[in-house]
Symmetry: C2
Subunit: 333 residues, 2 copies
């Protein structure tokens, strides 16, 4: 394969509580190299996790060079996405319940160890920025990104720039109250969207809904042990026609639609990108979700907005980490 003229590339790292994903993109984003994922193993401690990240970065650089992506010197740097909250200015991970880190200077550690210029941004911001640069929100002006997994993360793009707010907290759409007297959330608040529509919350609502419904497929799929229920089990049961599971999916759509309608009325985006495991539910989730948004938000906001699943599952975070590096270090994406 002939090497492109510039041959320059950028590494992206998506550090999650479960997996680390690393890959390289050509500077213009047209080529992707050596994308790979390894378990984070946060239980082994920060040093082990950093070792793993640096090893993965080295491997990606070697493979990218071998694939004609450019020589090692052609690597412009590394963008890192990590769970927040962060002190972005100083490149510090302040606290991460999922990793157990406190005040960890991740940007400097990675930069020093890999011998590269490094940037750091929030993982949900990166995922949204990735979908905007090369995925489902390409070319959009104002974007809300929503990643639904263990939690519900969010990212906001305004006029083609990531919006971080006044202290890097912006975009915590999982922690907006949709029920003032509602369920306790892990964050300490009551009635958060995340307390209803994250993966574990969907499973919890399914466990509640299954009480007394002994014929439900939900029991069969987990050998009668409802503690094993996950959101994925619920989607599967719903797709196979189970009424209890279908109700849970419809209710999930209602909660997510309410949270999204709030964002449409306040933020009036042209695209909402939804990513994460929940998109496996497909139209059985997206159709009632869109109906709920139409029912609740202003027509002028609904008509201006596409609500779409992400098109970079698994890699949006890496792509966005690269885009973040470009915006912070090279001035534009």
């Amino acid at each position: 394969m002939p090497q492109r003229k510039s041959g320059k590339f950028i590494i992206g790292v998506d550090l999650g509580g479960t997996n680390i994903v690393v890959g390289a993109l050509s500077e213009d984003g047209s080529r992707e190299y050596a994308m790979r994922s390894e378990p984070t193993r946060a239980d082994q401690g920060a040093d082990a996790v950093v070792d793993r990240m640096v090893r993965m970065i080295d491997t990606v650089i070697a493979e990218t060079s071998a694939a004609g992506g450019g020589k090692r010197e052609a690597c412009l740097g590394v963008g890192v996405g990590a769970p927040g909250p962060l002190d972005r200015e100083n490149g510090i991970v302040l606290t991460t319940p999922n990793l157990g880190w406190t005040n960890f200077p991740l940007r400097q550690v990675i930069g020093d160890r890999a011998g590269l210029q490094a940037t750091l941004d929030n993982d949900a911001n990166c995922a949204t920025f990735g979908e905007w640069w090369l995925g489902a929100a390409r070319g959009a002006k104002n974007v809300v990104g929503m990643t639904i997994g263990t939690g519900i993360g969010g990212g906001l793009i305004l006029d083609g720039r990531l919006y971080h707010g006044s202290s890097d907290v912006a975009g915590e759409i999982g922690h907006t109250t949709i029920d003032v007297t509602g369920r306790r959330c892990k964050c300490g608040n009551y009635g958060c969207l995340e307390a209803y529509a994250s993966g574990p919350s969907i499973a919890e609502r399914a466990r509640e809904a299954a009480v007394g419904e002994n014929d439900s497929l939900l029991y069969q799929l987990v050998d009668g042990d409802l503690t094993k229920l996950t959101a994925a089990t619920v989607y599967e049961a719903a797709q196979r026609g189970d009424d209890v599971a279908r109700d849970v999916v419809r209710e999930t759509a209602r909660f997510l639609g309410t949270g999204l309608a709030n964002l449409l009325n306040v933020f009036n985006p042209d695209v909402v990108v939804i990513a994460g495991g929940v998109t496996q539910a497909g139209d059985s989730l997206f159709e009632p979700l869109k109906r709920e948004v139409r029912r609740r938000a202003f027509a002028a906001a609904v008509n201006a907005c596409r609500i779409v699943p992400g098109t970079l599952p698994g890699t949006a975070g890496v792509v966005g980490a690269v885009a973040t590096f470009k915006q912070q270090q090279l001035g534009a994406v």
Copy 2:
């Protein structure tokens, strides 16, 4: 009074459902001239309202010139704030329930009739922009403005610029759901913040709370006719120690605090400015409201944010309309 060197000034118009407020500001905002208010009398029709606005503009120009603000030729133009939704690009008021107008080309009509360059923006945006330029949010980077009256309007400022969203709907914070199974709102949705904390909603909740509480001051203040209750009556009764009214004010703080906590978590502003009649309630509202926000929002968002009453009651809309004119026509405020 010696005339300032530039002597240039800009007219601001704040068109509301109840009153029209018009005044002039020197180009740099350091001087205010001829501020006045007249009833809108929307029932007389659009032509009569426009006549009144144009007459008020002429009077303000004459008085400003007489006061040494500058000659008539020194008037750079007129910024108009009007209830939305608007087609801002074409200067059209699309629909206004309070005025009864549909697709009214307000910018052109005012520009032509007054013989001035004109701009048009949403009234809540103007009020927020006014507080940012010369009021309580001066110098802030990211601002949420919230005006609580007959409805709950909102405006957003990002990096010193009004944020309008993709179809000029942004900032409708009164129509964010805080209770997914809650009260019907005039907008058609259920559980909107406005359905709990606007002036009329506060009065409605007070009427409900007063049932069976025949000793409550609320009855005395309206001669036993609860249909006459207004939010102002509720504040008065609360300030005079009435338990029922106090509960209503505390609940109002809880609802507003919930809506604001959502905005802090998503938007992470450095200032929230609250304006409108509700600020008459003073600390009896602001203190529990701030507590509710602290209870619900992330500490990093709470610590970054001041929540303050507006300091330009009655004139923020005019000041902001002038600022909008400056930003749109002169490129900067």
